[in-house]
Symmetry: C3
Subunit: 150 residues, 3 copies
Amino acid sequence: MLEDTVVLAAVTVLAVLEQAYFSLQVIYARRKYSVSPPATSGPPEFDRIFRAQANCSEYFPIFITLLWTSGVFLSQALSSLCGLLYLYGRFLYFRGYSQSSLGRLAPLYFSARVLWTLIALSCLGVVLSFFRVHLNVDVLHELGSALRLV
Amino acid sequence: MLEDTVVLAAVTVLAVLEQAYFSLQVIYARRKYSVSPPATSGPPEFDRIFRAQANCSEYFPIFITLLWTSGVFLSQALSSLCGLLYLYGRFLYFRGYSQSSLGRLAPLYFSARVLWTLIALSCLGVVLSFFRVHLNVDVLHELGSALRLV
Amino acid sequence: MLEDTVVLAAVTVLAVLEQAYFSLQVIYARRKYSVSPPATSGPPEFDRIFRAQANCSEYFPIFITLLWTSGVFLSQALSSLCGLLYLYGRFLYFRGYSQSSLGRLAPLYFSARVLWTLIALSCLGVVLSFFRVHLNVDVLHELGSALRLV
């Protein structure tokens, strides 16, 4: 089983390291703009960095959940590839949002599209597994046979 | 192993879709009440929708963790059933909170009770698995035998 | 497989119970300082408790992810031990932050160090598993043989 998940685990660790990087940026911004906890707002520059990190944190569990669902139930390779794209999109989002509110939009749309792809892969994986396990039908195999007959 | 988890995975995907729905509601509310990021407060109508989504996001990883712990270590069927009830409760909570602060209370208490049930199922699953694996005692089987003797 | 994860599951349930405890403290603080939802700020005493809980919630999915990655891919025992230390650190953090902003710092640094340890264990687990699964090399075994030769 480790064989089918070790790449997912590598992407997962990378995702945690990215979150650690975002958290460090908030700590630096707190010092730079003198915003001491428990305060969570200050000048717009600080607010954007704080919100960028909060948004990435909010989506972290959703991302990890989808990465593993689509990776275990459909394809480790496809899921890990989407995972890397998502993490790259989130890096651009964080950098863009730090500079301006507008700068967050393009990478936000990009990472949302990757998440929707992961949702689609997860759904497909669940449906195919359900057919295989509970109805004893291997849909992909049947499709292949049907196509060969045509 | 897929056999024992595919329904959990289906409930998981449903939970992600519900979170996506809540996020979209916040985006619509931002447009309707003209609250542009990084701002996170505006008129009370917006604040309630924003907080409803934030609260659901905060509990999402706790819910997923309990769903899989009780589902893997005790019973996929029981855990998935609680999962569906929880997601339904969160939907009512979001709709109620959008309308008034009071409207969030009844469904909030309901979903809290479902979460406590999932905690209880997880504890039971962990304890029974621990007995079976480390002490080589199948508690449920022993209980059954004891009852038959009585 | 349950044998290798039941202690991780026990630490996981404990982590959820700790989050439940923090959430209850916020509910009590809302009553005590009359801060009704959707408001999220009030007197400094309330703000500190609210932020302490928010910070613990934000790190909850990261903690669970690392606990399971290092526990499954490296060592259940090491990972669970770090997990218990982390939960203890978070308890001290919450109590310290409730009393003063300064009081949060020492336990915050402590739990951050534990998280970095879990990141290191996860990385090591992923790298060793990758060598074993994809390159068919058991690094720890080879190291042992090499040391015996010296």
